[in-house]
């Protein structure tokens, strides 16, 4: 029972971070129709940046986190401005492949700047583990869950009351109508990329504080695609709901299946879920089913 509780708590916590990553993806997809497959690499980059700020430069935590956030906004802005802006209205194939190119560049950059390839972030959260019933969970998981939930609340307020947030939702709905209202759509694209960058940075730091900084963060980003697929590509709610589902499936399913199958089954469960969802309900739980016309 304590095992089950432990798997559940860690699963939900990890799942909520997946939701954050997925939100970053969905935001870009909804506003500009770009599938950002370099999410995992962005996670890695920001985690390493946080590491060099915290551990190598020795900047105080609050300042370092702000710097990471500023850096992530800058990277998001730069990606949109330099790479995606010239490709507006190009076929989806080019848009997917260009982000794959970006992922290559980031991978190279990371191994260029931080050649040791593996590191641990300095502790951001208190060390002593927490007892929930009979389960013992380290605090990072709980903080990750709490921070993710807070960010969801903030984001939903942003999309509901902030002017730019409302315009972003409008852009997702109908780009032409937004342009007709005299709003520069490109500026909105830029905003959503910056937000996606910030979300990648936060989730990267959270993931790194749970499991250390390795190239495994890239795989974490890949696994977050299963959240996007299960929740539906164009649904914020879907991303938030599907995250914990995937996290639970990964932790609980993986925890109980590992003795029965091969080790590492929890890493592959999200991908199996992708294939199953594709067969049964390709547009996800909350995704909008597109009806095409010629």
């Amino acid at each position: 029972m304590s095992m089950f509780l432990q798997f559940t708590v860690t699963g939900i916590a990890v799942g909520l971070v997946y939701s954050l990553i997925a939100l970053g993806f969905v935001m870009v997809w909804k506003s500009s129709g770009v599938a950002n497959l370099s999410m995992g690499q962005m996670l890695l980059l920001f985690a390493w940046f946080a590491y060099s700020m915290l551990a190598q430069k020795g900047i105080p935590i609050w300042l370092a986190l702000i710097l990471v956030l500023v850096f992530s906004l800058a990277v998001g802005w730069l990606m949109e401005r330099v790479i995606l802006r010239p490709l507006i209205a190009q076929p989806i194939l080019s848009l997917i492949t260009v982000t794959l190119g970006v992922s290559f560049v980031i991978t190279g950059l990371v191994s260029f700047l931080w050649p040791k390839g593996i590191a641990a972030l300095p502790r951001l959260f208190p060390q002593n583990p927490v007892h929930i019933g009979s389960a013992i969970v380290s605090q990072e998981y709980l903080w990750a869950a709490v921070i993710s939930l807070m960010l969801f609340a903030l984001l939903s307020l942003y999309f509901k009351y902030n002017r730019t947030g409302i315009v972003m939702r409008a852009t997702a709905d109908d780009q032409k109508a937004v342009q007709a209202c005299g709003i520069a759509v490109t500026k909105i694209f830029s905003r959503s990329w910056m937000l996606a960058g910030a979300l990648a940075a936060i989730s990267g730091v959270l993931m790194a504080s749970i499991g250390g900084i390795t190239f495994g963060l890239v795989d974490t980003g890949m696994r977050a695609f299963s959240v996007v697929i299960l929740g539906g590509l164009d649904s914020f709610l879907g991303a938030i709901v599907a995250g914990p589902i995937i996290g639970l499936a990964q932790m609980v399913g993986g925890g109980y299946l590992t003795p029965l199958t091969w080790p590492g089954v929890n890493d592959v469960i999200p991908f199996i879920i992708i294939i199953i969802v594709m067969f049964i309900k390709p547009f996800g739980l909350f995704g909008e089913e597109r009806i095409e016309r010629i």
Partner: protein
């Protein structure tokens, strides 16, 4: 359009021929002569580079049929190659089948697995399909690295040299002839496939699958066929790769390779026969250049971080892919077309 003035066709077959004029045939025969005499004047290292280039051309040609002609993006091509490679090794070592049969069956095996993952392509496309093929890559590699009793797990498997018609192909030049001949057959098949009813159905599906269906093209059948053909070629490439390196493990088929294959066909030019060839040669030679130049640079500039040698190659590949997509989305094949036309018309502008 590609012909000089004054060339006429007297039969339909003549009009459809790929090589029309004596000049065409001259260049083709010259190219073949150079290719077949390459082991005579190339050092062993460059022969192995050429071998890897040809193997990659086969894989990229398969991906080009799937992505370039049929429009089904696959980010799991290295996974399908792995299926072919492992099938080939297991059939050779466990069952001792003759090599041509092994080659064919590893292609078929990879094609069937590809079709399995391609079934979902009936209802989804674009990004969804990309993600499901990405999932395919991860699932395939996970199975391979854990099914110890069959695949040897992460330790990998040694591969005996291929035996064709009683000859054991051990040296680079022996392998070169095998790989070259298979590559020529594959390019011949791919070129002609694109001109048949099937190839045109692929193009129709790529341009608009609904319109294609209305015109009477069965999208399910042809999408599955595209998946089968593309992954069949990947399987063949995987089988040749296994017999070329002599040792395979799950890390021989990383996810980055799958991305690189897409980069190659985009750099070369999607939906053309020469595209994958140009793209593969471009990227592989870039790779060779980087491996040779970066240690020198590292030595010349001691201030560079020790990750320079590891990091420079992916950075260069990524930048190349991005630049090509932004500035020349039709790839090197388009440039080649422009070059040929202006060469023929020179010194007149039209």
């Amino acid at each position: 359009m590609d012909l000089p003035t004054g060339i006429r066709s007297f039969s339909y077959g003549e009009d459809m021929a790929v090589f029309r004029t004596k000049t065409h045939w001259f260049w083709l025969l010259l190219l073949l002569a150079v290719l077949f005499s390459m082991p005579l004047f190339l050092a062993n290292y460059w022969l192995s580079v050429a071998n890897l280039i040809f193997i990659t051309i086969i894989a990229a040609t398969g991906l080009n049929i799937l992505t370039g002609y049929c429009g089904q993006l696959s980010i799991g091509h290295a996974g399908f190659m792995a299926v072919g490679a492992y099938t080939s090794v297991i059939l050779t070592t466990r069952f001792g089948l003759p090599f041509p049969l092994v080659l064919l069956s590893s292609g078929i095996m990879a094609g069937l697995i590809g079709m399995l993952f391609g079934i979902s392509s009936l209802r989804i496309k674009g990004f969804y399909l990309a993600i499901s093929t990405l999932a395919a890559q991860f699932i395939i590699l996970w199975v391979i690295s854990h099914w110890d009793s069959v695949t040897g797990g992460t330790n990998g498997l040694p591969v005996p040299p291929a035996k064709v018609l009683g000859l054991v192909l051990k040296s680079q030049s022996d392998k070169f002839y095998l790989i070259l001949i298979v590559t020529i057959i594959i390019i011949f098949v791919a070129k002609n496939l694109s001109r048949t009813k099937t190839g045109r159905a692929f193009v129709a599906i790529r341009d608009n699958d609904l319109a294609a269906e209305v015109m009477g093209v069965n999208p399910f059948r042809y999408k599955l066929l595209a998946f089968f053909t593309g992954c069949f070629f990947a399987g063949i490439a995987g089988s040749l790769f296994a017999h070329w390196t002599g040792y395979i493990n799950p890390e021989s088929f990383p996810f980055t390779n799958s991305i690189l294959y897409i980069g190659m066909i985009i750099i070369g030019g999607l939906g053309t026969t020469v595209g994958p060839i140009f793209g593969v040669i471009f990227i592989q030679l870039l790779d060779v250049l980087v491996t040779h130049v970066s240690p020198t640079l590292q030595a010349a500039f001691p201030g560079l971080s020790s990750g320079f040698v590891v990091g420079i190659a992916p950075m260069l590949f990524g930048v190349t892919i991005i630049l090509f997509i932004i500035f020349e989305p039709r790839g090197l094949a388009h440039r080649w077309q422009i070059f040929k036309t202006s060469y023929r018309l020179w010194p007149f502008s039209y």
